[in-house]
């Protein structure tokens, strides 16, 4: 049983609150959010106590701080929580700059508390299975990857912070970082990044817009193509999807969100046509991820995604941004 303070009552705050309750009904939750109505919604739904950040830092009973705020706030909140002796779980991306991420990792080392970053894709079964299959060698050594992750623009951010690249880092740092992290884990260190992106302000498209393409060469010689998109029109029936293709020396593994659906629903209620597709499961990757974090605290083991790993994945995303800015290939060694 733990006492957990969730910072940020947005989309991820809700997902984490539900997960902590699923792990153990007896977990006590605190919710911190400047927007009273959002904090209250989580309080009502999951029995969380509304509090301020100062209050939870001062409470000796609170052992875990879980950061679900916009990215640009991560550093300050994480460092202060670690300094107050809390274990910290931080949503991805760890930060917007390497120096911020280093400060967080350093604070964790100094405090001796656990610090884990939410690269949840590693816990998604269709991705975890790729790691297992690669290890089993059915398709030989994986030498090439194509991954897509995208959908419509995330307009749910408070104050539309995703649209501000100074706050979100754009599509590479906020979204494709999932794939950069997964590919790094699968294929090892990245050597060269060639990337381009188109980020359009709301003047040109309502709700903003961002589309990125990156070509990676790994130290091993493996190649990867990463497409990240916040460019699909808003309000589509299927507003998010992923695709992957991993080519090995003896075969390939591929999957697409268009295929992985167990329910397709079409309704016309009061003359309003609606389509949805779903693949519901009892297994929840977010619960699995947080369970892994809690176990590492209880058994005093290394967390599954530590600060150093998060820094390495952030470096790749920043290298993509740098390449897109300079319009030339960037060596990962240029980003430090």
């Amino acid at each position: 049983m733990h006492s957990i303070a969730i910072l940020g009552a947005g989309m991820m705050g809700n997902v984490h609150a539900r997960a902590y309750k699923a792990i153990d009904q007896k977990n006590s939750l605190w919710i911190v959010d400047p927007v009273e109505s959002r904090a209250k919604a989580i309080s009502d739904k999951y029995g969380a106590t509304v509090a301020s950040f100062e209050e939870v830092l001062g409470k000796g009973g609170v052992d875990i701080v879980d950061i679900c705020t916009p990215t640009f706030m991560h550093r300050e909140l994480a460092v202060r929580a670690l300094e107050a002796g809390k274990h910290v779980f931080c949503e991805k991306p760890v930060a917007l700059k390497i120096e911020d991420a280093r400060a967080m990792d350093w604070a964790a080392k100094k405090s001796g508390r656990k610090f884990m970053v939410g690269h949840v894709v590693r816990f998604f079964p269709q991705y975890a299975r790729v790691g297992e299959l690669a290890a089993a060698g059915d398709v030989g050594e994986i030498v090439m990857a194509r991954v897509y992750r995208g959908g419509s623009f995330p307009s749910h951010g408070v104050g539309n912070w995703f649209a501000n690249t100074a706050k979100s880092g754009g599509v590479f740092v906020d979204l494709s970082i999932h794939d950069f992290d997964f590919l790094r884990k699968l294929l090892g260190p990245v050597k060269t990044v060639e990337a381009r992106s188109v980020a359009l302000s709301s003047e040109r498209k309502k709700d903003s817009f961002d589309h990125g393409m990156a070509i990676l060469r790994f130290e091993s010689g493996a190649l990867a193509h990463i497409e990240g998109s916040w460019a699909e029109p808003a309000g589509m029936p299927v507003n998010f999807g992923t695709f992957y293709e991993f080519v090995g020396t003896k075969g390939m593994i591929t999957n697409s969100y268009e295929r992985e659906t167990t329910l397709r629903l079409q309704t016309s209620i009061d003359g309003k046509p609606k389509y949805s597709q779903e693949n519901p499961a009892y297994f929840d990757p977010y619960t699995e991820e947080l369970k892994s974090f809690i176990l590492s605290i209880e058994e005093d083991r290394e967390v599954s995604v530590n600060g150093q790993e998060a820094i390495e994945s952030l470096r790749v995303a920043l290298a993509a941004n740098l390449s897109a800015e300079l319009l030339r290939p960037v060596e990962l060694s240029e980003v430090f």
């Binding site: 359009l200 589309h211 393409m213 010689g221 190649l223 193509h225 029109p233 080519v247 030339r328």
Partner: protein, 323 residues
């Protein structure tokens, strides 16, 4: 009766073109010439075509010529056809060097001969529809493109650095470059490429990724890899994700498929879509019979080859290069 000569049967597309011709009215395949006599005789037997020892004689007795020899020998055969004043349909890529491609265009021009390039993908109804969607403004302003032309490793002369002129980059860059040039009415201006021999033990690259800049301002990536394993149910793909300010379009040219599961032959995808080779050959017959300008011509072949040779240069130099 329109008589067609086939020069070179090194490329498997030659078989497909010959079969397409045999299904058409008022067509006679005058004969087949190939420098490799055993390959010539085998193909002639398979296809029921007359083998010919002398390409010049064969061309002289024909109305039009199809060249499906190895990439590096296209020039020689196109020159024979042009010298005899016969219109030519030439397999892609046009040649292995820009110099050869320019010489081929020039010899055709000098002899008043039309040079059609075998870019069958551009003849697809889906590609035409995509062009209507883009030019009709349904996507708003197109801002980026992501393309693929995957295939299986073809083996044979395709992996001979001299005869093929390269590997996957040479073989699988030009189709998507050609359709994008047509879709957006643009040229390719810059490229960064990275590639390698990743899967097979062969003397040329089998996987490659390219980042292009277009004259209309957009960037486009292309995956030109021979990365479909033997176990894959289909030979490969040509796809293009077009991202616009108001919408997106995903083009998957060969996705008209049924899935076939055979206890004896395993699983495979069977394409039931329009036969693009036939559509392209019908266009060639219009060039021969009606004097129509080719829909895909020598310049299209040259421009797409320039993108390829620049891609190789980019990898050698490790930087973005001008096309």
């Amino acid at each position: 009766m329109t008589k067609i000569a086939i020069l070179g049967i090194a490329h498997m597309h030659g078989y497909s073109y010959a079969r397409a011709l045999k299904g058409m009215n008022d067509i006679e395949i005058a004969g087949l010439y190939d420098e490799d006599r055993s390959r010539m005789n085998r193909a002639c037997e398979d296809l029921g075509i007359k083998p010919c020892e002398h390409p010049e004689e064969l061309v002289a007795g024909s109305d039009g010529v199809i060249v499906t020899s190895e990439n590096s020998t296209h020039r020689k055969f196109v020159e024979i056809a042009a010298g005899a004043g016969k219109h030519v349909l030439c397999e892609k890529p046009i040649a292995t060097t820009v110099e050869d491609a320019e010489a081929m265009i020039e010899v055709c021009r000098r002899n008043n001969v039309k040079l059609q390039m075998a870019f069958p993908v551009r003849y697809s109804a889906s590609v035409r529809k995509a062009r209507e969607i883009v030019s009709g403004g349904l996507l708003g302003e197109v801002v980026s493109l992501v393309g693929t032309n995957h295939g299986r490793m073809p083996g044979g002369w395709f992996i001979d650095p001299v005869l093929g002129g390269g590997g996957a980059v040479m073989d699988h860059t030009v189709h998507v470059v050609d359709i994008v040039r047509w879709l957006l009415n643009c040229e390719f201006t810059q490229v960064y490429a990275t590639y390698g021999t990743m899967i097979h033990d062969i003397p040329v690259e089998d996987c490659g990724l390219e980042m292009f800049k277009l004259s209309t301002g957009q960037y486009m990536t292309l995956d030109c890899s021979w990365s479909r394993p033997k176990a894959h149910p289909y030979w490969g793909d040509v796809t293009l994700h077009i991202v616009g300010t108001e919408g997106t379009l995903f083009l998957d040219v060969f996705n008209s498929k049924i899935e076939v599961y055979s206890n004896e032959k395993g699983g495979r995808w069977d394409n039931y879509g329009d036969n693009l080779d036939s559509l392209m050959i019908e266009e060639f017959l219009k060039v021969l019979r009606e004097g129509k300008e080719p829909f895909t011509d020598g310049n299209d072949g040259l421009q797409s080859l320039k993108a390829v040779t620049a891609a190789y240069k980019s990898f050698r130099e490790g930087k973005v290069v001008e096309i």
